[in-house]
Symmetry: C2
Subunit: 383 residues, 2 copies
């Protein structure tokens, strides 16, 4: 059976782990997680067994919760997503996947015989969620730059006109940062005379970008979505994966049950719920404010544009979508993928210019990519 | 739109929240969450955007992970649950509900037409999970002290002999700490000639008690379970809800998909996963060791027995199951339920003598319950 460690060995192992993180943070370019946050003044909360079990909007017997903070976070997101506060409800999740599962769970309860339409560029979690929820689904082709192919969607809807449609609308795809054309999706539903439909927006990253730009694409409740999942550990930044989900209140009753044990309603997917992450989100939102986020995102765009220019200066093609911080280029060598923790899919790679990514870092990175390409070309010509 | 706070106001609000927790920790008797832990030396890990995305046993491009620590935690639990390491697999979850969902998800993939059998005393999350997974189910009556009524199970199995059976076996029920008779369940399956079956154990609390007692009830892989969910924030203690799930490796392939984006396998329910909680669990396990946990649990039993004696001294009936730290008594006034954060269900209430619950606290608490009862009796006699 497992033995207790010598306390020195315990602390030594923790120190070496810390060192490993500190080193690897220096080459963290491929994933959409903001590494720039400072929650040190909140660490003392971790001295308590906190738990946000139950509905954040219903009081609970479990007093060691941060429901009041969670509610404030949800209210801020209701503003950002142009949701009617009296007609929407939400909670803080353990991440984007849980938010997507929640939205699709609601959708299935409302339309049990529906088909889920999602594109080839939709996050891999949606595959798993559909399997888990046991719903019929069909995949819609994506255009080369990542948006859902509306011609294909039209055709698929036409073939299934008698069935309700649940659409997963990507608000920023995982690999290319593409935003599905929400207006086009709604037109396709209308055109094909689909009377019962539900649109869930997966806005993991871009849900915290679009509220702060001048020319956002269609994506919000005002634009016709029924629910949305936004990550907290992406643009806001958090040491623990987290996020929010918002949905229409009238739909929540389909899955809610009263639970006397905790003196609350069981309206969320988990039972016991993380009570620290909502405080992290709240703190960062309140520290920066709307204007702070506007500035932060403008800087991210600047770094993205700078890296595209750098790539071009070395003769390497690279691009980004409008309002996206995802810079797409050709897959480099496995060595560089590992070194810079790049996300790749087939021949495509990307970096994401999150707030911790500096221009100085980009300079070193693009140089290495250029040398890598040169080496590869040499190898090819020497064959 | 939301405004930034004055930094002083921000810190003030955080201070008052901390004060609230510190006060309410003093009367935290009703929920099975150990409040006695000290992870302060691990707080610096929260400076990084850590993420255990993907399978803990497959290397990932996302370097800021604690997969190696997570694997060690899983290996310890494989020992504790008498699992064969070469034939089981597991990961660290966000809590018991996720572990139960995982087990039932696997079970449904293996036996798509099965019926889930679970008792009236099963945790409320199982209801929700069954709805979410879209499986047929039937509820088995529970005996007065909380165990599954095997006569009723037999009858239900007899009525559905042609269908595979998925059984949720409670290893410590939520309200009364009862352990379903696993041997009896297996006999019932045999007797009714059910050829295809799956047993998932919900061992949220007792999964970290039974490995440390001399006379454990049947509950482990050696006793015939197929998967198990154990909470981490319960007996081990954690500021963030967490847990582990273990299942047979051969069953995992039914739901696994390769995901190039993170260079790993998507074998878990969430996508991005908490990388801090596994370190909390690892740290506490390694700090105390097997013998430390044995001692800790013996102390919890002592306090439980002490509180039963105290109750009896005041003429109040109270009891606990063998190997359980859940002390059951009659529901008191709403005032005391709120004050002591008691969990109640109908006429039943309980306290759970977790490691932070001292005998001194029990003395004050039972006195208040006795006074409460006296007051209630007076009111009745004055009518």
């Amino acid at each position: 059976m497992f033995k207790s460690y010598n306390p020195y060995k315990l602390e030594d192992k923790m120190k070496s782990l810390h060192h490993f993180f500190s080193e690897n943070m220096e080459s963290f370019l491929g994933y959409p997680c903001n590494g720039k946050f400072d929650y040190r003044s909140l660490y003392p909360f971790l001295d308590y067994p906190l738990n946000n079990v139950g509905d954040p909007f219903v009081s609970s017997n479990f007093a060691l919760n941060t429901h009041n903070i969670e509610r404030e976070v949800i209210e801020i997101f209701q503003d950002l997503t142009k949701a009617d506060k009296s007609e929407t409800w939400g909670y803080c999740t353990n991440g984007g996947t849980e938010g997507n599962m929640y939205g699709l769970f609601l959708a299935r309860e409302i339309h049990p015989n529906a088909i889920v339409y999602y594109s080839d560029e939709t996050h891999y979690s949606v595959n798993k969620i559909i399997k888990c929820l046991n719903i019929k689904s069909t995949r819609v082709k994506a255009l080369p730059k990542g948006e859902m192919d509306l011609n294909h969607l039209n055709q698929l809807l036409y073939d299934n006109q008698n069935k309700p449609a649940i659409i997963v609308c990507n608000v920023g795809t995982t690999m290319k940062g593409a935003i599905d054309d929400l207006k086009g999706i709604r037109n396709a539903l209308k055109k094909n005379n689909i009377k019962r439909s539900y649109i869930h927006a997966d806005a993991a990253l871009s849900g915290m970008i679009l509220p702060f730009v001048k020319d956002p694409q269609s994506w919000s409740f005002a634009d016709g979505i029924d629910s949305i999942s936004i990550s907290g550990h992406k643009m806001i930044g958090s040491p623990i994966p987290c996020g929010i989900v918002l949905a229409k209140s009238e739909n929540i009753d389909h899955i809610s049950q009263e639970v006397e044990y905790v003196g609350s309603k069981d309206t969320t997917i988990p039972g016991s719920r993380n009570a620290i992450s909502p405080v992290f989100l709240w703190y960062q939102l309140k520290k920066l404010g709307f204007i702070g986020f506007q500035r932060m995102i403008k800087k991210c765009f600047d770094v993205a544009d700078f890296s595209i220019k750098m790539f071009k200066a070395y003769g390497i093609e690279a691009w980004r979508h409008n309002n996206s911080v995802t810079v797409v280029f050709k897959r480099p060598s496995d060595y560089l993928i590992k070194k810079w923790q790049l996300a790749v899919n087939g021949e495509t790679a990307h970096i994401i210019t999150m707030p911790h990514v500096t221009k100085r870092k980009i300079v070193s990175f693009v140089k290495e990519i250029a040398e890598d390409k040169k080496r590869a070309l040499k190898q090819v010509s020497s064959l």
